[in-house]
Symmetry: D3
């Protein structure tokens, strides 16, 4: 039993509110327990320089945190004049994860920009972001298909993400901040609803860990992704 | 009658949800119609360099907008590496407005940092920010007083803010984005619940305007502030 | 009587030297007492991106202070790598003020860039800047009309600016640095020579102020602008 | 057989030249085939702010590439004024990898700064960096122990890193640039010479990959790390 | 005869107005023909980190140009967020030149910051800056000695600077902008009033130049410095 | 006799390894004693904005130092977000020196970017950079001529550079770091193999120096350049 009362393989309470904002082509509020992220998908009728004239589209992502999303206030990145390495690393991860589930050729020459802004952080902000981003992206693409702007469904997979980790020697799913702070191993799994892997990032927080633990964590992560995919489908149900 | 169906002296639907987030000492979600701002108040047991050793406290403010708070996506300030002039101007206004209603000496050597983050913009984001910031600040100060950290009520006034403007030749209260875009004069009034002025910023958007129009707009603004002050009190009621 | 010996409604000694520099299309040195600002107007045969192809022109402004324009040396903004919020706020104010007195359509596709550089500061640098900028702009436009580059007079008004404030409980015109530092209310009025308002920015420096004080300050400001407009006309007289 | 003539589980020619430079406390030139990285370890008798007074030390890392380390010239990060996300991500990875093999308490209050500068890139620059960084770090620590500055061996493990990936459907070890560009899955393994995992980062470059492929890649990576650890020991042999 | 009517060894009209501004400890307006620079010397009771506790002082310099000091407007460095290489190079030259004529030990633990701001440029801005900076520095030091803050005259030499160059094959003194633009060789000489050299910077603008030409240019430069030193003494005469 | 055992007019051991790296069009490792610089020449089929459509080419240079090229580690310029004044000054010097020996018209519309990266510093990094840069540039141009991309030899001179200085009252050639730190005068000479001057930069490090010393230093510098030119020719020999 975990401190929070959850079983090792239990997700926190998951909530995904689709169409959370009025202006974006797609948007969602996603909550993994106390972690809450606003995700938007913005369609821009342009592509980055390296794709001009190639007929293909692009999906990109940015990530941010409100200064007081965390226990103590962090300096605003806009005020400091640069994004931290952690921020850049996370937004690169989100972008890669989404591009892996979309056939960019089918978008035509447009960019879909995903913005993930954490309004409250309690661990797992990057995995909540990816999970919500899929929903925002799907809503934007639904709109583009409805208007005839995109002819063919560009999705090749449904993607979600979850954290797993070793807490007090035991593999646990969807770590909250307290668990994450003390974890011996910390891992993020981005995968499809079918159980195929898109991204595996595991880190020994203290000492190196055995090969067998990797296997256990990946299994647990794939289980979590499967359940999150179900929540996504509910949120997207018409 | 205005396009939105409102009377010239009518505010939009106002909503102030206190204690909106879990971590900050004070927080609120404030909505002026479709404009929605998350405001937090963070207590830091330090003061800026110029106040060290003077026994007095400080109240400061920062302002931001999610990239897709607006009709079309704006570049993220953190990614561009600098805050725009508009942002800096607004956060300076918010800070001045709040400091005018607090006796800084009574805070003791601590800083209360206000963060106003617009998650959806439809005109009046700076006035909604100030109105919500008062609530977040009051909640944080209530906590500081409850814990005995502050002995004496530092508030000397209750502050709120509203926009007024000339639309189609007529003075109107609390402009939404569409009205604001076409306004001939645009004014922001920061005032106390007692009708005293803290800040008046009026701008001719097209051509210079007569002295008499200034008077009419200020009257309307003070009326709006009075009503907003009532909403604040409701939100702060125990 | 004020410390400086001036009457409450008395301006400082005003001097405007037109054509102060050799290279710019228009230039002036403007002095409000010990405050001295070099203002230049530079014509550029380009327009900002959002105006390309619209046939209209643009007027923009930048503001700076020499590091030792002030009592103690301030860090050079170029060396710090960013302009302060105060700087950006002032240059936005100058730009708006000038655009309000010009019919941009009549400029054709060109930009006039105003630079206001304070070489000595003693209060009122932003109002001296605007007052001088009108002169530099008028000189540049005179040259453009003489060469046939602009056909029709683009000015729709003559603009000047002055500060007013409450010092020791009394409304005073054109505050110097010492008065400004201790003022209870600080206000800047940008207006036309005809007494119409372009910008009103009033701030309670300590506590909120009554509505009646606003009226008194605006009256005083309009009086000051009228006199400054006369000085501008003298400087521009052929 | 791979294009380069290597077997799937074959490393490129590995060379580690210890004490490559004259000034640093530890240094090495590491070559994985045509990839060449200069690694230095610099001892600084200070610790970062969050460790002051805790008696513990720190190991940190920075990474860079000469502008023409690559096939075509990349803009110099110093000239652009910011490090790319990729750079920050890599240097965070290197730092974590090294800290996982050192008991920071035993360093005492000093920082060892690792610099990895790629002078020629042909794939696997981050894994070559980590592998060389261990050697530079070990040389610096040897010097610190010889001088009595560090009493007890701070190493708890020997660490190396290698890339693995899926090329033309087949798991391959230590990808060169050409293989890496076309790989379907790209993975970096940081591990100890004993086969325990420190970091696993796997990415689907095109489409999601099956769980079984992860297992195969990790096995291959651990094999590679074992051989690299042998090269490190040779380079460190007295 | 030169285009301007000057003889090859003739300076432009030189003017040095001491105490040009009210706030700085020392200041001057220096004009070399149409080149006009405001120079200020600011005393700060601090020293840079590397001099703390050594009892010695420091002299430093910064340089800037108003955006429209030149024929066409240049972007403001503060707005671009970085100083150009040319700016940094010039301010390093000014600082070195002044430090070479002052015994820093005799200043005690204070910094004198020189600011050279070009308000009108017509060639030779760096040499006019140095020549004026000596005057501003001397005025500030005079004040420090008068107040007893500095006991012993810290000057070991009087320093001035001038440009020389090869125009149409002929060595010329104190080039104006037009001459400078077309010069084959461009050289700046910083020297003492006694004819000793502090800095010689000569550049072939087109092709390499013979050794003999260097000799001729240095002779001419020393002649110019001697005359400038006389102007400095006049400006500093009580 | 110098501390190092060298005669006053003796260079350090000079080594130039051509084609040091695999990717660049031209490259060299140049060593002046313990100073070691990697120089690359990269051909880019573009020209800077001000040369577009003029049919002429461009040669530009950038300079950097690995953080631990020096005795103690320096902060990485990319991490600090700006290049230091010293860096900008050196790269401007290198660029000017190379352009003086090339007929840019004969390059056609392409840019050759020189990168000089110091991997170990022991004095004279800028002169070693220029000396090596000539070799890298010559190798790149040889390739461009071989491929027919450049028709006519663009070189008008062979260029090299060396430092000279006054150490313990005596003129010395090619100062190492220790000599340079204590030198009374420090000078860099960029010249052609024929003894014509391209750049002379001499600085009094302590006090002003006599005219005669300049002459002696320039003679010594030209002698050094002649010998370096011979080393360059050897490195470029087929």
């Amino acid at each position: 039993m975990r401190k929070s009362g959850r079983a090792p393989d239990q997700l926190r309470a998951i909530e995904i509110i689709p169409n959370y904002l009025r202006h974006p082509e797609g948007s969602a509020l996603v909550a993994f327990g106390d972690t809450r992220v606003i995700v938007t998908a913005s369609v821009d009728e342009k592509v980055p320089p390296h794709l001009i004239g190639k007929g293909t589209g692009w999906v990109t992502a940015e990530y941010g945190m409100l200064p007081r999303a965390t226990h103590t206030r962090s300096a605003r990145e806009a005020a400091r004049g640069r994004q931290q390495g952690r921020t850049l690393e996370i937004q690169r991860l989100i972008g890669r994860g989404l591009r892996a589930c979309v056939e960019l050729d089918r978008l035509g020459p447009l960019t879909i920009a995903i913005d993930c802004d954490v309004i409250q952080a309690d661990g797992g902000t990057r995995t909540a972001s990816i999970t919500g981003a899929y929903v925002a992206l799907a809503l934007a693409i639904r709109k583009l298909r409805a208007s005839g702007r995109i002819k063919k469904d560009p999705f090749v997979a449904q993607v979600a993400a979850v954290s797993v980790g070793v807490v007090d020697g035991k593999a646990c799913l969807d770590l909250d901040y307290e668990e994450d702070s003390g974890a011996e191993v910390d891992m993020n799994i981005v995968a499809t609803s079918e159980g195929a892997l898109i991204e595996v990032q595991g880190t020994a927080e203290k000492r190196a860990f055995p090969r067998a633990m990797l296997d256990e964590l990946v299994d647990l992560g794939l289980l979590g992704v499967e359940r999150l995919a179900e929540e996504q489908r509910k949120a997207l149900a018409p």
